[in-house]
């Protein structure tokens, strides 16, 4: 399907195929466990199932329903039941999801914006002390994984100095007004957000700077200056706009890093998002929960990546003409 000369259907098909593969793997995986999958699924856990629960579990993965039945279940939010937490998987997932979105979303937006602007400005001042220092700092920062920075921040700011809480997203059982609640949430959000921000920022900065450096050498930047345009406009509307493209392309590749990092950070700060949920599920060996989280996180990732591809299509008018 082509709109404005660009191919919209191929990426969608590719991602759909990937999603189906993940779903199918999720469907089949329990049956690959040695022995009876019902007992095997809770093998390492403290949980034992009575007959009724076992039957329910079996029915969920019933081969007679088949893969389409499984898909239908997924669509209707029937994702199975977590016996370790005594709650439907979907409920647990949807409880944790908003926190993760808040954390990851904010970190991502902030780091992209700041990284982009800093990278653009650094490239504009190429060769200056600011630029060289910036590149140096960011390269070193890029080498510090979230585990390390998260633990360090936790140690210093939460456990030693006590400026920020060490766990949770909000104070439990507190009787807050809305304004106080917001402040409380932000207070809890600060450290995990800072960790993720520091983890995502260098990559964005370096990519933006590299892209900008290459754009600044192109002739249309000189031509824009000849048109008497204000320097800020040249820098952003003309040059940076072109430098945006490589950033969007490389987004998908960096996503694997980002997700892993988010999971780890949530665990470190006991932040009640999907990461902590996953960590606990693994600790308790509650495989249905693990499976549910993984599957739906994957689908979310696929949707986001598809969105980025479409965004690139929109941003670059030349795409779609070279196959």
């Amino acid at each position: 399907m082509r709109i404005r000369g660009k191919n919209w259907s191929t990426p969608a098909l590719v991602y759909l195929a990937a999603a189906l593969i993940m779903a199918y793997a999720s469907f089949r995986l329990p049956q690959l466990l040695p022995g009876d999958f019902v007992t095997a699924m809770y093998a390492g856990s403290d949980v034992t199932l009575n007959a009724e629960q076992a039957a329910e579990l079996r029915a969920f993965y019933q081969d007679t329903q088949g893969f389409p039945g499984y898909l239908r279940n997924l669509a209707t939010l029937d994702w199975g039941y977590s016996h370790a937490f005594m709650a439907p998987v979907s409920q647990l997932f949807l409880q944790a999801l908003p926190w993760t979105l808040l954390l990851m979303g904010t970190a991502h937006v902030l780091s992209t914006l700041l990284g982009f602007v800093l990278g653009v400005e650094a490239a504009w001042r190429r060769g200056s002390l600011m630029e060289k220092a910036g590149v140096g700092i960011m390269t070193v920062l890029e080498g510090v994984p979230e585990i390390c920075s998260g633990v360090l921040l936790l140690l210093v700011f939460a456990l030693s100095l006590g400026w920020f809480p060490a766990a949770g997203a909000q104070m439990a059982y507190a009787d807050h007004t809305f304004g106080q609640w917001i402040a409380d949430v932000l207070h809890h959000l600060a450290l995990p957000l800072a960790t993720l921000f520091l983890a995502y920022l260098p990559g964005n900065f370096l990519l933006a700077r590299a892209g900008m450096v290459m754009v600044l050498e192109r002739f249309f930047v000189v031509a824009a200056r000849a048109k008497g345009l204000p320097p800020l406009r040249i820098r952003y509307a003309h040059a940076a706009r072109n430098a945006l493209l490589p950033m969007v392309t490389r987004f998908g590749l960096r996503f694997a890093f980002m997700i892993t990092g988010a999971l780890v950070v949530e665990t470190i700060f006991s932040y009640p998002g999907l990461g902590t949920l996953l960590f606990n599920a693994i600790a308790l060996r509650d495989l249905p929960l693990v499976q549910g989280i993984v599957l739906f996180s994957s689908i979310m990732v696929l949707v986001i990546n598809l969105g980025m591809e479409y965004a690139y299509n929109l941003l670059d008018p030349r795409v779609g003409h070279a196959s």
Partner: protein, 611 residues
């Protein structure tokens, strides 16, 4: 509002040396007129355009002054310059699509300057659309992205973009390069319209045809200095500077006649090296060098005319001192000899052999470095004239001036110094050489005759060099050959080598190829013409074959009845002959197929051309 450039020097810094792009340039852009700046790559044309716009790169150093009306551009601070840009002076760049941002569509980029100046967006878009429409770009195309447009559309779009703020001064850098003929015409017309609207236009181009048709004044740029400043119409017919002539000769004009010829030697860049002298002051000297040449410190810089190594009429005085403009006709030339010099001029030269009046009183002028063809029927007197020019025959009357000296006196007092300057090639090669002489002897003969005779080594070297020039073998076996062992083409080439061994300034060729087969003729002629350019010779070529003259000549003189009937640039003579004689000559040369015999005028009745 006059745009005046005074004493502009621009150099590009690169570590330890600098590339000199413009050297003390003086140019005035007359308001409401089109000034063309022509030159080859590396001459500095684009640098001037960028200097006018104030967008010279970081590593450029500019001195001098550029004034746009009352505003001084050089040294102006960036915000003020930004005010002037596009609204007072705009530029259409050379690299077409590269000047456009690939992620914005055309109309956005055209309207952008208006929007930035504060005009409401809808109004700006309408104005942009109108302007693009006048350039032949419709609304649909205007909404496209640069990569979706053709070269011609991009160029027209850029033109519209430059006009959006209605600047009084416009710089067009190669506006028609790489475009098809139709688009070129369209853009040329647009430029004419802009001139009628009162804009001052600087047209930077290497397309001489465009310059000739559009420009009111042309400045010819070579290695950063203007060599000639002339009215546009005079470019092809009356160039005054040897470089201009060479450029014209190298350009494929539609109505040109002679085959393309290059310019001998190579052009390099001008490097400025700074040396620290003993008293601590740095001294910058300029020399012409290849960009990657290794610089040996301490040698004295060459001075004088930049074009001198490649010039066809250079004299010793050309390498000394700085050369200023001198007027030549209505032109300004930078040449110490005041423009293209005359190498030979005859005034009222006549000759009779007994009762036969071979040559009626005739005038002839030969300019240095050109190929002048004397065409005419047999007995028209051309061979006599050629012989007189060679100094072989003394005329009965008239003055002959060769290189500003009176030939008669020269020949009487010091023939030995005149003879080497003129070389001669004859119609019948086999007869013009002695059958007892070997190839080596033939070519060495002029050296042996002239005093002082060079030593055997030098002589051998010069003979071999001459033979190499005419692309003959220099092997010892060949040198020992006798003429009867060679074919006619080879003999003629040996004769040419003989004529060239003294490095003459004037070469006279009397029907040099009529005794040869056509295929051999073509090879010999091509070689001869190549040599003419390579050595910077003036060639006086005598022939009865108008077709041949057409391919060979810069200027043609038509002879009949012992006198020259008509002279002029080759293109004009062939295409627009004025004299009846000339017309007849050309028509009959065009071939029997173009006319029936009946329509050829009766020679008996119209006997003006009878010999």
């Amino acid at each position: 509002m006059t745009t005046q450039i005074k004493d502009l020097t621009v150099s590009y810094q690169d570590h330890d040396h600098a590339l000199l792009a413009l050297d003390r340039l003086d140019l005035v852009l007359q308001p409401g007129k089109i000034t063309a700046l022509v030159g080859e790559s590396g001459s500095g044309k684009t640098t001037l355009g960028k200097a006018l716009m104030g967008i010279l790169p970081e590593n450029a150093r500019a001195e001098g002054s550029i004034s746009l009306g009352s505003a001084q551009i050089l040294g102006l601070d960036e915000p003020s310059m930004n005010q002037l840009r596009w609204s007072q002076v705009a530029m259409v760049f050379q690299n077409g699509a590269a000047s456009l941002n690939p992620v914005h569509c055309l109309i956005d980029q055209v309207a952008e300057p208006l929007v930035q100046k504060g005009i409401v967006r809808t109004k700006a878009m309408t104005a942009a659309r109108d302007l693009l429409g006048r350039m032949g770009i419709d609304a649909d195309q205007a909404g496209r992205y640069p990569h979706e447009l053709s070269g011609g559309q991009v160029q027209r779009g850029l033109l519209a973009m430059s006009l959006i703020l209605d600047p009084p001064v416009l710089v067009l850098d190669e506006p028609t390069a790489a475009l098809d003929a139709m688009t070129k015409l369209f853009i040329a017309q647009v430029i004419r319209d802009l001139k009628s609207a009162g804009k001052t236009i600087l047209l930077i181009t290497h397309d001489l045809d465009l310059a000739r048709n559009l420009a009111d004044a042309i400045a010819v740029l070579y290695l950063g200095r203007i060599m000639e400043y002339l009215p546009g119409t005079d470019l092809v017919d009356r160039p005054c500077h040897p470089y201009t002539l060479a450029l014209v000769r190298a350009f494929p004009f539609m109505d040109g006649m002679r085959d393309l010829g290059g310019i001998r030697g190579d052009a390099f860049y001008r490097m400025v090296h700074a040396h620290a002298r003993e008293n601590g002051r740095t001294h910058a000297h300029v020399h012409v060098a290849a960009p990657d040449a290794v610089h040996q410190g301490g040698h004295a810089p060459p001075q004088g005319c930049l074009f001198q190594p490649r010039c066809t009429q250079a004299v010793a005085a050309c390498s000394i001192g700085d050369i200023d403009f001198t007027p030549c006709d209505t032109h300004q030339v930078r040449c110490i000899r005041g423009g293209i010099a005359r190498i030979l001029s005859f005034e009222k030269v006549a000759k009779s052999f007994g009762r036969v009046k071979a040559l009626a009183p005739t005038d002839l002028t030969l300019m240095a470095g050109e190929v002048f063809c004397l065409v005419g029927e047999t007995g028209s007197g051309k061979s006599t004239l050629a012989a007189i020019a060679a100094g072989a025959v003394v005329p009965d009357q008239g003055r002959r001036i060769f290189q500003d000296r009176d030939m008669d006196t020269w020949m009487k007092t010091d023939f030995a110094s005149l003879a080497p300057k003129i070389g001669m090639i004859y119609q019948n090669p086999a007869e013009s050489v002695s059958h007892r002489f070997t190839v080596f002897d033939i070519v060495a003969e002029p050296l042996r005759i002239q005093k002082p005779v060079p030593d055997p080594e030098t002589m051998r070297a010069r003979v071999l060099a001459a033979l190499a020039d005419v692309r003959l073998s220099t092997a010892p076996e060949f040198l020992k050959r006798y003429p009867h062992e060679l074919n006619m083409g080879a003999i003629q080439r040996v004769c040419i080598a003989r004529a060239l061994v003294h490095a003459p300034d004037l070469l006279i060729a009397d029907e040099p190829t009529s005794a040869l087969d056509p295929s051999v003729q073509a090879k010999v002629l091509k070689m001869l013409l190549g040599l003419q350019i390579e050595k910077g010779l003036t060639l006086l070529f005598v022939t009865h074959d108008v077709g041949l003259a057409r391919k060979v000549a810069d200027r043609i003189g038509v002879m009949a009845r012992g006198t020259i009937m008509e002279t002029g640039p080759a293109a004009r003579i062939i295409n627009h002959p004025k004299q009846t004689c000339t017309k007849m000559l050309i028509n009959s040369a065009r071939g029997m197929s173009s006319q029936s015999l009946a329509s050829i005028p009766d020679y008996e009745k119209e006997n003006i051309c009878r010999f």
